[in-house]
């Protein structure tokens, strides 16, 4: 098991290095720079700005200087927000985005697994079609549509819940979490239905039924663990995706998270910010993939046996 984890970590490092290098040079090749504005900047001023941010050096020197800073954990100063470092901006937004992502994932799991399991118990009946059609709608419905719809219904017509903010007014976290979670709920519903269907046709389930276990115990004790493996495998990338993809929800609900910086950095040509967020998020994705691989291995008895020294 340890060797398996170590191998995966070693594989991840070159991936992240390639991401850094590719991002660095791609961003620089885009036309326009961080100091280009609608009102033209006086050349002397622009030169002073570029000197303050090391942009006057040859590109390869900038690259190595950046790598040097990065090795010390310094992502550099933001171009767009003078006075703030990229580290500071990332760490101010991360807890919020992570909290939002976590709630969204919880909601996605509760709704998704319930719907998937319910659907799988009576395939090709109304009990299957209704939740699965809803899931299809959930996948198709973009959050920039669902968010405002939820706000309209629960925030404005019914006046039950606050419509913007994060931790300012009680209950203001519910609608954003629901909006962000629903698309993932739909995926999870489909994954858990498929997983459950496969497991429910296995011999050991027939055995469990044959020995007279009530159906709910068959499902919760025997089928679920195996049936949810595809869901678990999906959770790692899903969480990373939630962190990176919360931009729309954060904008709709005025949430001070990371997503807005991530997207705007590209428009602003905020070089250090683009690199910082990309490096950070790609590391997260790699990390969560690793974690979900480990959990999936732990859940799957066959694989676990192999990894703990039995096989290979």
């Amino acid at each position: 098991m340890l060797r398996f984890i170590l191998m995966r970590v070693l594989q991840a490092l070159p991936v992240i290095f390639v991401v850094i290098t590719a991002t660095f040079f791609l961003v620089r090749s885009a036309p326009g720079g961080p100091f280009d504005q609608e009102k033209v900047v006086i050349p002397e001023v622009k030169k002073a700005l570029e000197a303050q941010y090391r942009l006057d050096l040859p590109l390869h020197e900038q690259y190595f200087a950046y790598l040097g800073d990065l090795a010390q954990g310094d992502l550099g100063p933001s171009f767009k927000y003078p006075g703030r470092s990229v580290n500071e901006i990332l760490f101010s937004g991360l807890p919020v985005t992570a909290e939002l992502g976590l709630y969204a994932l919880m909601i996605a799991l509760i709704i998704g697994v319930t719907a998937g399991v319910v659907a799988s118990l009576r395939p090709n009946t109304a009990q299957d079609y209704v939740p699965m059609s809803l899931a299809m709608i959930g996948i198709c419905m973009p959050s920039f549509l669902l968010g405002p719809l939820l706000v309209l219904v629960f925030g404005i017509w019914l006046d039950w819940l606050p419509i913007t903010g994060w931790g300012d007014i009680p209950g203001d976290k519910i609608l954003p979490a629901l909006t962000l979670g629903s698309a993932y709920a739909a995926y999870i519903a489909r994954l858990s239905r498929a997983g459950m269907l496969e497991i429910l046709s296995q011999d050991y389930i027939r055995t469990a039924r044959a020995k007279g276990l009530p159906e709910w115990r068959v499902v919760t004790q025997h089928a679920l663990r195996g049936g949810l493996i595809p869901v678990i495998a999906f959770l790692g990338p899903a969480f990373a995706g939630l962190l990176a993809g919360s931009f729309v929800v954060e904008t709709i609900f005025q949430i001070p998270g990371l997503g807005r910086f991530y997207v705007q950095a590209a428009f602003n040509r905020d070089y250090t910010m683009i690199l910082g967020t990309t490096v950070f998020l790609s590391s997260l994705i790699v990390f969560f993939n690793l974690v979900s691989d480990i959990i999936a291995a732990w859940l799957n008895p066959r694989l676990r046996h192999q990894l703990s020294g039995g096989g290979s």
Binding site: F35, E38, V41, Q52, G83, Y103, M106
Partner: protein, 557 residues
């Protein structure tokens, strides 16, 4: 063994446990409460939609509009603008006088003007701050605001390095003498622009060099400012709170206790916050909702002309628009009234000149009109009768739905009136900026928002080689009018006559096609008083009052 121990905590039990607590957290204290507006009206707290997170709060470093709103609450210039007339009135300087035919201004600073740490605001602070604002190392993008001052430009460009040669002197603690290159009627106005504000030298030096751009001196714990409000909270991308300052010289006239600025980037969310009474004031209003707002009795929607012009740049060296007759034909074939009525929902004013009307009493001449007959005649004269032989033309705009709609409308007008083919092309913002600065286009969309209320700010763009000219338009007579004749004019009338002359030259050569004058569009809660609509969309929070007990119109509840 290890894996057996792990299995004792079964996965779904962990899941259920974690889920339970997280849900509890999420739902914690669910339930309604009083809205921001109700509590704000009671406690004197204004909830202000500010459009975006400010880049920063250092007056010599930042450049944007959201920054302007916050910085002008925290700091005060030598003079401020009257929010109704926009004429200057006392700020840090209680009075000023002109001598040497307007070339020398002596500012007398109010001895009661204090920094938020209790220090007096001195003339020496201004000399230090203007040195910082103009120092080549600072990289202040608005440094040109001080260029009317003797030697300021030379100092910024590194041609001189001794700041004492620049025309600003502290005669004593409360007397500041400024010497200008030429009489500059709008110079006092510039004292309300944040790039000319004073900062507290000792505070800045505590955190770095004078010219450093990114020290933490503007953070809540560190900042020292001299305005009606002081900074008490700055949560990135969440809110900024400023509180009334007890040391501000005119504190008795400040009604608000606090202002909360929200980075309301999403126009639609901002409008929803307004309807839910979470905001007193929105930075903009969503275009598609404006007609409905207009029809309400006692509508909270407030629209006013704004000191900005939306126009198309023309590359006067690229065929077929290198021919002035073609440029004129294109301009005359645009039905601006229709554009404003349909695409823009009456949220703009048709424009026939670069300077907006009533710019401090200056009205630009209207030299042409929508005239498809004459447009076709001009085009025929240029060799393209009914569009025959037309080589094609492209309109460039930066990717944004609003610009696309306008480009499509104009494309349609040119096609139907002149029979010519027009393509439209969009580019991402920075790519577009690059193309505009290289003049790599035939026709390109452009907007200009004035920095100060004076026609000069619009007309001096088109001097030969001007950084914002972007059209290859060059005319020595025009340059002479703007750079030498207008500044020397003895009276306002004489000066405005020279501007009219320049404006006429511009529209005769038509290097730009003016389309419309911008408007400011806000939703303002009925409980707010003292927010006056003006051409600069300039708000002085010192004059704002909140009256409890007033609510939004029925239609919005």
């Amino acid at each position: 063994m290890a894996s057996a121990a792990l299995l004792a905590i079964t996965p779904h039990r962990i899941g259920a446990y974690v889920t339970f607590w997280l849900l509890l957290l999420l739902l914690a204290g669910c339930g309604g409460g009083e809205s921001n507006v109700v509590t704000g009206n009671r406690d004197g707290v204004l909830h202000y939609g500010n459009g975006a997170e400010p880049q920063g709060l250092d007056p010599h470093v930042v450049t944007g509009v959201p920054e302007n709103h916050i910085i002008r609450a925290l700091f005060e210039g030598l003079a401020v603008k009257n929010p109704i007339t926009l004429e200057p009135e006392p700020g840090v300087a209680e009075r000023w006088e002109f001598s040497d035919e307007g070339r020398v201004i002596t500012f007398h600073l109010n001895p009661d003007a204090k920094w938020s740490n209790g220090d007096q605001v001195t003339a020496g602070d201004y000399v230090w701050s203007w040195n910082r604002a103009l120092h080549p190392m600072t990289g202040n993008e608005y440094s040109y605001m001080l260029f009317p001052v003797v030697n300021a430009e030379a100092y910024l460009k590194g041609q001189i390095t001794d700041f004492s040669e620049v025309g600003v002197k502290a005669l004593d603690d409360t007397t500041l003498e400024v010497t200008l290159n030429a009489p500059t009627p709008y110079f006092i106005q510039l004292m309300d622009h944040y790039s000319t504000f004073a900062v507290h030298p000792e505070t800045l030096l505590q955190f770095g060099e004078m010219t450093d751009r990114y020290t933490p001196w503007t953070r809540v714990a560190n900042i020292v400012s001299n305005g009606a409000f002081k900074l008490t909270e700055w949560s990135l991308n969440r809110r900024i709170i400023v509180e009334k300052s007890d040391l501000y010289w005119d504190r008795d006239n400040v009604s608000l206790n606090k202002v909360v600025f929200y980075p309301t980037e999403n126009v639609v969310s901002e409008e929803r916050m307004f309807r839910a009474e979470q905001l007193h004031y929105t930075q903009v209003a969503p275009l598609d909702k404006i007609p409905a707002y207009r029809e309400m009795p006692d509508s909270p929607y407030v629209q006013a002309p704004y000191l900005g012009t939306y126009y198309y740049l023309i590359n006067t060296q690229r065929p077929p628009v290198d021919d002035v007759r073609v440029r004129k034909a294109l301009s005359m074939a645009v039905d601006r009234d229709k554009l404003v009525r349909t695409v823009l929902q009456e949220t703009a004013v048709p424009a026939y000149s670069i300077t907006p009307p009533d710019t401090l009493g200056y009205y630009p001449p209207k030299l042409f009109d929508y005239d498809p007959e004459q447009a076709r005649a001009l085009l025929a004269e240029a060799g393209y009768p009914n569009g025959e032989g037309w080589p094609g033309i492209e309109i460039l705009y930066n990717t944004q739905e609003a610009h696309r709609k306008i480009a499509v409308a104009i494309q349609q007008m040119w096609k139907s009136e002149l029979g010519i083919d027009v393509t439209i092309s969009n580019q991402e913002w920075k790519v577009y900026l690059d193309a505009v600065s290289q003049i790599d286009f035939q026709v390109a969309r452009r907007g200009w928002i004035g920095d100060y209320v004076d026609a000069n700010n619009f007309l001096d763009m088109f001097i030969t080689g001007g950084g914002n000219n972007n059209t290859h338009f060059a005319d020595p007579v025009y340059d002479d009018l703007i750079l030498y004749k207008a500044p020397k004019a003895a009276t306002r009338e004489e000066r405005y006559a020279l501007f009219t002359e320049a404006e006429t030259m511009l529209m005769e050569q038509m290097p730009i096609i003016p389309l419309y004058t911008y408007t400011s569009k806000h939703l303002i809660h009925p409980s707010v008083e003292g927010m006056y609509a003006n051409l600069m969309d300039s708000l002085n929070l010192k004059y704002v009052k909140l009256i409890p007990g007033r609510s939004l119109p029925e239609e919005l509840r």
